[in-house]
């Protein structure tokens, strides 16, 4: 199976994306440490930068920038590899996309550092930043669209060359991811193109709730995109690493389709305690949010079935013996396995908190921050870390040494323990009312606020461990790019299990149909509220700066 010369053709592009991503992780992680220590009450932020500027950059660097660049590096490599190379033109597109991203990111960063855009990742109107902040975001979105286009064109050309064949599953995942992120970013693009003329003063007032609703159609879908990127590795890479095979090709394709078509309306659950929407509408959206859980539940079964089969093949006996025969000592497995386990908790918490009344208990408390540090911070990020150990040496023409491998085990431990500290304490302190996105405060020694302090110490402790983990990870990435011994590291991609290899249905391939279905479902969720918000709009707001 191994064709020792087969490599990713656009390896320099991918390495550039990864290198930039990990520099941003280092900076964003450091900002996270500062916040964690501040929330713990042990660090006052001084020196011309305030807590909310730190938080704005931490959010944008980690949930938008690091993840986007990682996605581009990883899924472009996968598409490249399974489709047998990218053309020169497509590779050029990748470089242009990277340039657009860097330009946009630079604008955004300068604006935040200049104190012109302390509006957090959500930039809720009518709080208004300098218009160039939003223009910077447009360039980041252009990167995403161009990156998607490169994958779509490559997949389309492959299909034309290989009539009647199914698009390789890894490329199928990539197409699904970029379709979903394109849907998501269409909403934020609409929002930003509405905000820009308003911040320049060309229009006087803005429909606040409209911008908020457009934002969440983007904001939540975005994190689900990162989740889908991680899921692609769970299906495509993990079985290869442990010597197993794919549970079912058609099931994997169905999961991708479901995640893509069901996802966007889920964003509405961020508005469960908002005014302006009826109780009935909010209840209908409970259905739409919970529907997103279905493909994840399918995934949970398929992955554990794959793990069990492989574990038994490796000699595991009895009911649970297979579990211990899995290669826990292999960092490429350990990372992803811990990521998958964390998603059981993250997903369950998500299902709970999307139920309207339960949402009201935790809305905008640190519970929510705990939730997305489990889902994105562990399930997604630890998966990303797990890919580094073979993907980067594959791209750089090097091999993973024993020493770096063992360092990786330590890194994984630091990350896991750090996240346990941080997410458990955030979840609990959120349940007793501590607000998110708030600098350390006791509200003048208020007794209720003082109850939060002991738990917040653990947030700070988690932050220290996590930053140590970030530093270690960046060193590992640097080593694998520039210092590790030269050699060939194979690309990890699974083969299908023979006994389940019944024919994958043709309908899975019809992306035109799935895009239409997605548009219909998005319309079901958003048409009524958006038409109502526009047709029955309250008086608007002028730009306001409170930072």
């Amino acid at each position: 199976m191994n064709r020792p010369l087969k490599i990713v053709t656009a390896n320099k592009l991918a390495l550039t994306n990864f290198a930039t991503a990990f520099v941003l992780l280092l900076v964003g992680g450091f900002l996270g440490l500062i916040q964690g220590l501040n929330r713990a009450g042990v660090l006052e932020i001084v020196g011309g930068i305030n807590y909310y500027e730190v938080l704005t950059l931490h959010g944008i660097f980690l949930i938008l920038a690091f993840t986007t660049l990682f996605m581009n590096g990883y899924l472009w490599s996968a598409t490249d590899y399974v489709l047998g190379g990218l053309t020169r033109g497509i590779r050029m597109m990748g470089w242009v996309a990277y340039g657009l991203f860097m330009f946009g990111a630079l604008l955004v960063t300068i604006m935040v550092l200049a104190g012109e855009a302390t509006v957090l990742y959500t930039f809720y109107a009518p709080m208004a930043a300098n218009p160039w902040f939003y223009i910077g975001l447009v360039f980041v979105v252009l990167n995403i669209w161009l990156s998607g286009l490169g994958v779509f064109i490559s997949a389309f050309r492959w299909k034309r060359r290989n009539k009647g064949k199914h698009l390789p599953l890894f490329a199928f995942f990539a197409v699904g991811v970029y379709i979903l992120i394109t849907f998501a970013t269409l909403f934020v693009a609409a929002e930003v193109f509405y905000i820009i003329p308003w911040t320049f003063g060309w229009i006087d007032t803005i429909n606040v709730m409209l911008t908020r609703t457009l934002f969440w159609a983007f904001g939540h879908t975005l994190v689900n995109v990162w989740y889908l990127v991680a899921v692609s590795a769970w299906y495509m890479v993990t079985p290869k690493v442990i010597g197993g095979k794919l549970f079912s090709d058609s099931l994997a394709r169905a999961v991708v389709i479901l995640i893509v078509v069901l996802n966007v309306p889920g964003g509405f659950h961020h508005q469960i305690v908002d005014p302006g929407f009826s109780e009935g509408l909010k209840f209908m959206h409970l259905f739409m949010s919970l529907a997103i859980a279905v493909p994840s539940l399918l995934t949970a079964f398929a992955l554990f079935a794959m793990l069990e089969r492989t574990g038994r093949r490796r000699g595991g006996k009895g009911l649970l013996g297979w579990f211990w025969t899995l290669p826990w000592h292999d960092v490429r497995f350990l990372t992803i396995m811990l990521a998958m386990i964390s998603f059981i908790f993250g997903g369950a918490g998500g299902i709970a908190q999307t139920n309207n009344q339960l949402n009201q208990v935790v809305h905008n408390t640190l519970w929510v921050v705990g939730h997305f540090h489990v889902t994105v911070g562990v399930a997604v990020v630890l998966t990303f870390f797990g890919l580094v150990y073979w993907l980067i040496p594959h791209l750089s023409g090097r091999v993973l040494t024993k020493k770096i491998h063992n360092l990786g085990i330590w890194q994984t431990m630091l990350w896991t323990v750090g996240m346990l500290f941080m997410t458990l304490s955030m979840s609990y302190v959120g349940l007793i009312g501590s607000p998110r996105r708030t600098e350390y405060t006791t509200y003048g020694g208020n007794a209720t606020a003082l109850e939060w302090d002991p738990y917040l110490l653990f947030v700070g402790a988690g932050g220290i461990l996590l930053f140590a983990g970030v530093v270690l990870m960046v060193y590992i990435v640097y080593h694998l790019m520039f210092l590790s011994p030269k050699g060939y590291t194979p690309f990890m991609v699974v083969e299908e299990e023979e006994e389940d290899a019944h024919k994958t249905p043709k309908w899975t391939e019809n992306w035109g149909l799935w895009v239409i279905v997605a548009v219909l479902i998005i319309s079901m969720g958003y048409l009524v509220p958006l038409v109502d918000l526009i047709g029955n709009a309250p008086p608007g707001s002028p730009p306001i700066r409170t930072f």
Binding site: V208, A254, D274, E279, Q357, S434, P539, G540, P542
Partner: protein, 156 residues
Amino acid sequence: MKMNRMEEIWMIIAIGIIIIAMGITGYQAFALGMAPPSHQEHIDPQTVEEHPEFSEPGVYETGENQYEVIMTLQAFQFEPGEITVPEGAEVTFRMATKDVVHGVNVPHTNLNTMVVPGYIQEITQTFHEAGEYIMVCNEYCGVGHQTMSATITVEE
């Protein structure tokens, strides 16, 4: 698409749990009146102070142990900032913001809502236990967000 038998059972259980969750949430929302705050009244955010109701924020008694709190929010204060009601009082908060989006949370209760420019938000809470409660802004509203709070004293 063929499915594994075990997988079918798993999916039936899983989807069953989701449907039960929806059933409970729907029952609580519509039969028990516990739905999240969803008031749909408009207000011009630029003239909140001239609004007949919000020009005079304060605590108003509306019935037997029933109160209405007319509250305005702005960076970085609640008005009124100190509220006193008797134990067992059913308090309806009517809230409007004069500037940006704010959030309102009273820890130890389920009072938690967004206040968005252009809308009056309404939420009712019965304070069964006497004591000092704090109301905090839980949506980032600017550089002094961490100072934005009010107190609710529930007297025996």
